[in-house]
């Protein structure tokens, strides 16, 4: 991907709200340990808020790259650092209004959403938003 900071954040919010929201809606009833919607949507919100902060970090790291790109592989591997942070934050009870989240529930939900969004961002997204790839991932 060839993002600008603004584009990164816009794409992140769009993807997590639209696709993250829809996937959460569909998978919550079938996730392990039968979580409620309040729990899963709070997890999603946590991923979103921390994710925006991560984008600032990625943008900073990208400055060291001559191409100012963010390779496809990085986009997938970022699931590791982001997933760990979200899990730690959940474990430490830093997210208000959320109870205990079993690890398997979190892992299945997080990975499903991440992989779907990663694939979508690296391909089909371009069909629907013709200008998106030429404007650093900005949607507006």
């Amino acid at each position: 991907m060839l993002p600008t900071l603004n584009g990164r954040i816009q794409t992140r919010i769009f993807m997590l709200v639209v696709f993250g929201g829809l996937i959460t809606l569909v998978i919550t009833p079938v996730l392990p340990h039968d979580p409620d919607y309040r729990t899963t949507y709070l997890v999603l919100l946590t991923v979103l808020v921390l994710g925006v902060a991560w984008e600032l970090v990625y943008h900073g790291l990208m400055q060291w790259r001559w191409e100012k790109d963010w390779p496809t592989l990085f986009g997938l591997l970022n699931a590791i650092n982001e997933g760990i942070l979200v899990w730690v934050v959940l474990e430490l009870g830093l997210v208000p209004g959320i109870g205990d989240v079993p690890f398997s529930t979190f892992l299945v939900m997080f990975l499903l959403i991440w992989v779907f969004i990663w694939i979508w961002t690296n391909g089909p997204m371009r069909i629907f938003h013709l200008r998106w790839r030429f404007f650093g991932g900005r949607l507006v």
């Binding site: 600008t4 001559w66 191409e67 100012k68 790109d69 391909g123 790839r133």
Partner: protein, 532 residues
Amino acid sequence: MAVNDPSTGTVFPTPGAQDYLPSQAVAGDLTDELLATDWWTDELVAAAGIPVVDVPFVSVGGGIGSFVTTDYLRIGGVDTSQIRILSALDHPWETYEYLTRVSQIPRTERLRSDSASRPDNIWGFPSYALSEAWRSKNPATLWQVFVEPTFADFYTPKAGFVFEQIEREAQRIRYHEMLAKGLVRVVRRRAGGGYFTVLTPPEGATATKRLAYRSQFVHLAVGYPGLRFLPDLQAYRTEHNDYQRVVNAYESHEHVYERLMTTPSTVLVRGGGIVASRVLQRLMDDRLLHGAQTTIVHLFRTFVDGPNDGAGSPKPHRFMKRAGSDGWAYQGFNYPKSVWGGQLKAEVRKLEGAERAAKYKVMGGTNTPYRRYWQKQMKQGRQEGWYQLAIGTVDSMTPHQGRILNQVKTDQGVYPLEADFVIDCTGLEADIAEHRLLKDLLEHGGAGRNPIGRLDVERTFELRGTGSGSGALYASGATTLGGYFPGVDTFLGLQVAAQEIQADLAKRGFGKRIGTVRSTSQWLKWFSGKQI
């Protein structure tokens, strides 16, 4: 045989140019009065006896630039009857294929182009890598784009596949219905709005020598204005009438490789860019795989051996430095990738004048991709002594006992270097004023130059200063290098320009806006191969 346009000093051939050379005064020709007038009236053109053809949109060039722009317009709902492409080429990939073929990228070899830069597909999805994996039933190319550039070289498509797919798309959008053959002589503004584009059709094709296309919009995509040889090479060739042993990589020079296969020889390769890499690969493949006994001396003017930037800074900024070694500056594509959509594109879009020129300089400079295969060959060549490096410039060249004696000027002094062949891979580009049509636009059309001397275009790719009533004149491609968008002279750059031009035209009421619904429905048509 291909003939060079004598007015341009270019090495690119114009197919069938001899058909266009004027032999005698005939009816319907340009008059002195027309040539001296900046704004033409309908009466003036009629008085010269030049027939007028009315069409709203004309694209001049007929190469990849015209192709992607008209592709966008057709997808934006413009009918073929509203568009004419004026060109001496039969197919949009013709010039491109000529240049890639002679510079050692035949159809079976890979270009230096990104997986999602598809001239035949405005969405860039599916990418070339995905299509190639699907067709070959082999996921290797998908794996390559997945791990590039960290764990593999950048994926690049095969030239032949690119051309085949352009052909498919050309048929789908009925490209040839829009094509009018001929050479464009001038574009002049029309009193009352719009433009006259004067075409010289092939001799005998029309009753008059010229045709005038009267249109509201004109798009120029005439490609590189021409290539120049280094002055010392040109001087040698002219003085000694030797066009066999001193060649430019962008002209057909297969005879060199044929000779090398039969006769052990020394070749001097000049230049440090992608073309030098390609020529070296050919020379080294011939040696390593087919038994040629060629010694290669590679002359770098600037020898890069560490972090660098295009401005040649001794200590490049930590956020603006690329890798380099053994003489080369490494970069995946013609520009840092983000010029086509990311941070650098956004930055340059805001820059004016000297600041913009400086930014271009920092990210420019001669460079080539780091490819593992090339590195392996060069390493072997250095170890075995048949690939030698030299740093400097050539002071003079003279014939000497059937060879060429080069006086190479280095930091340590001037040294003689004998070679059997010299292959110039430096690729100096000619000034835009060497192109007759562009020269005329600068002198009579209101066009101006941008901070690095090429055509000055707006962010919409409208050629600044050339407006005419409700009409607009656009330009894209190499002639517009130096504008608010870098990377114009690339597949993706032509698509970025086409997108801007199409959007601007849609705002002016020519064609429809390509929003999510149209984009999606048109993609489905593209995917199913439905003709539009």
